[in-house]
Symmetry: C2
Subunit: 350 residues, 2 copies
């Protein structure tokens, strides 16, 4: 029995010399081994097992939602998640934000030569576990390998499709003057957890990423008939950037109250040390809901039933005058403009 056959039967433990080679991306037997020994056992489902160039699946009647994200997070494994969990969570959440029931994902891997196969195995397992939780299948995929020094371990792209009920139009353009802004929980944890892992910062309590699937509270809100105008998850650029993007398209300013926005003590402390503003720090399990004031009470009752949005609350409203800005009623009583930053305070957090 060769070494590789052993891996097939029992993928763990890998040895230190089981690493990605350029030839793993070449479309030959080594690519096949990678598929058969890592990806099929992890993702295995009927369309994928057909091993064709594209997978064909049933699609229910309704409109199709499609989204894509590439993930380049560093480090690959962090408190509260890893790049695999993130790659499935992020794309499922983006579908949910369009009001879609997530159905199918694709996965594209760009591997750096020398990556330990054990890392890839763990990442693939984590993707499968998260996909199962989200009720989606990874039905098609691709692997490329780049020379050492031309990548950084693993980059993953996931694209996702889902089905949307006819007539659903959740988007920043649907936001109206007077709408309320709900926030699903505390902000800033994902970015700070990544930063802490990268820089070996220590906190008194263990700070974990908030990385989590959001489709359940969202789809429940919609199926219960709550009139929702816009949903947005607070990833790159955080709460401040998401609200700015919405205000720009909606054409009305958004006013939020600092005292309503929960930020954990460790996050605030880390932000002070690092010179960051938690409202701009990325989250991977937080979202805002923009909806008519009359729906607020019912919506909060629903959101609070789910762990991931158990701390949901109203944080502000869409103003009536025309404009494109986000204004913050700060703890000191002053009102200030929360503008878009030119870039990310923390690069490569997703």
């Amino acid at each position: 029995m060769t070494k590789n056959e052993f891996i097939m039967d029992c993928p763990l433990p890998f040895n230190d010399y089981d690493r990605v080679l350029l030839a793993h991306g070449g479309g030959g037997t080594l690519t096949q081994q990678l598929i058969e020994r890592i990806f099929l056992p992890a993702f295995g489902n009927n369309p994928l097992l057909k091993r064709h160039d594209a997978s064909v699946v049933d699609f229910p009647s309704g409109s199709l939602a499609m989204t894509t994200d590439s993930y380049v997070v560093k480090p690959l494994f962090f408190p509260g998640g890893d790049i695999g969990k993130l790659a499935v969570t992020g794309t499922v959440n983006d579908l949910a934000m369009a009001g879609a029931k997530p159905l199918y994902l694709s996965a594209g891997f760009i591997l750096e030569e020398g990556l330990p196969l054990e890392s890839l195995w763990k990442i693939a397992q984590s993707m499968r576990q998260t996909a199962d939780q989200a009720g989606v299948s990874i039905i098609t995929g691709d692997t490329k390998v780049v020379d050492k020094g031309k990548g950084d371990g693993v980059f993953i792209n996931t694209a996702g499709v889902g089905v949307v009920k006819a007539g659903m139009d959740l988007s920043p353009a649907s936001v109206k003057a007077g709408d309320a802004v709900l926030l699903s929980g505390d902000v800033g944890r994902h970015g700070i957890a990544i930063m802490a892992a990268r820089e070996d910062l220590e906190f008194e309590t263990k700070l974990e990423s908030d990385c989590a699937l959001l489709h359940e509270p969202i789809l429940t809100l919609l199926s219960q008939g709550i009139e929702v105008h816009c949903l947005r998850d607070l990833t790159r650029g955080g709460l401040a950037s998401a609200l700015n993007e919405i205000s720009q398209v909606a054409g009305h300013p958004i006013l939020i109250s600092e005292d309503q926005i929960p930020v954990r003590e460790e996050v605030n402390a880390a932000c002070e040390i690092l010179g960051l503003d938690p409202f701009y720090v990325a989250n991977e399990g937080r979202f805002v809901v923009i909806l008519p004031e009359k729906e607020v009470e019912k919506a909060l009752l629903i959101l609070k039933k789910f762990e991931v949005s158990g701390a949901a609350r109203k944080i502000g409203q869409v103003l009536a005058d025309p404009g494109k800005s986000v204004r913050l009623n700060s703890l000191t009583g002053a009102t200030r403009i929360i503008d878009l930053l030119s870039g990310e305070q923390l690069p490569r957090i997703c």
Copy 2:
């Protein structure tokens, strides 16, 4: 007027200092500028202009085909194409190989800090042009930036969805003993063109990649009622790897004749110098059709009407005995086994 406003109105020429910064990937104003000044002008369409996390589009009744590929080709621009053309062509072709009418694409960019923005602009334009030719829209996208030395210019992932008529089952598992194997044209040009560009090899005549869209001949074959069992484009690993993969799933050996397989003189010459076998070299505009012998004549008549498959011919057949191999009747009269290689002879050709 600031420099950046100028770019918005007139994207070309860019100056040498217009380069990708880490902050272009941060979700702030620089990310917005990249979207507004490069991607929206290039890809602009209604779903994309809504700027939401996911795009929602109509989907016709039928099954859904989905595929994904990441593109890491080096160099980014090569004779006969560039990474943008390749990224659209490859994914459209993969959908066509499943018998699907390609409809929508996603595009995920992983940019290396320092990439000239002019290169990105050219690549985006090339994607749009190819998408228009294919009749598909790029409806959703994502950009990440990695630090200099952690990527290699641009990596692109495209995922694609298309619609498949109910009941269509094109796959290696549908291949039957006695089926004929048709090849759409000469093989080996893409890989050799890339290699020549990378290594500055000179040929007497200009050798260009065969990179081309294949959906038209394929969809015409199918709409004309030709009974097709399997389609496969001959990308990574070339003709030899594609036929091996099909044979492995079908459970029958495939026999092909060397004298029926066209290889251009320059490709043969380059392969001799470089020690490569043209049957394993990647193509980006070639495919095989596996179908019942009785359909061969009608199918060739259709294929020959299209420039991209004008040189189509029968190159072999699926044997009746059980087995998983590809056998070649060589020019010398001997029969030899064409096995899967462990990796790619030429890394990063797509």
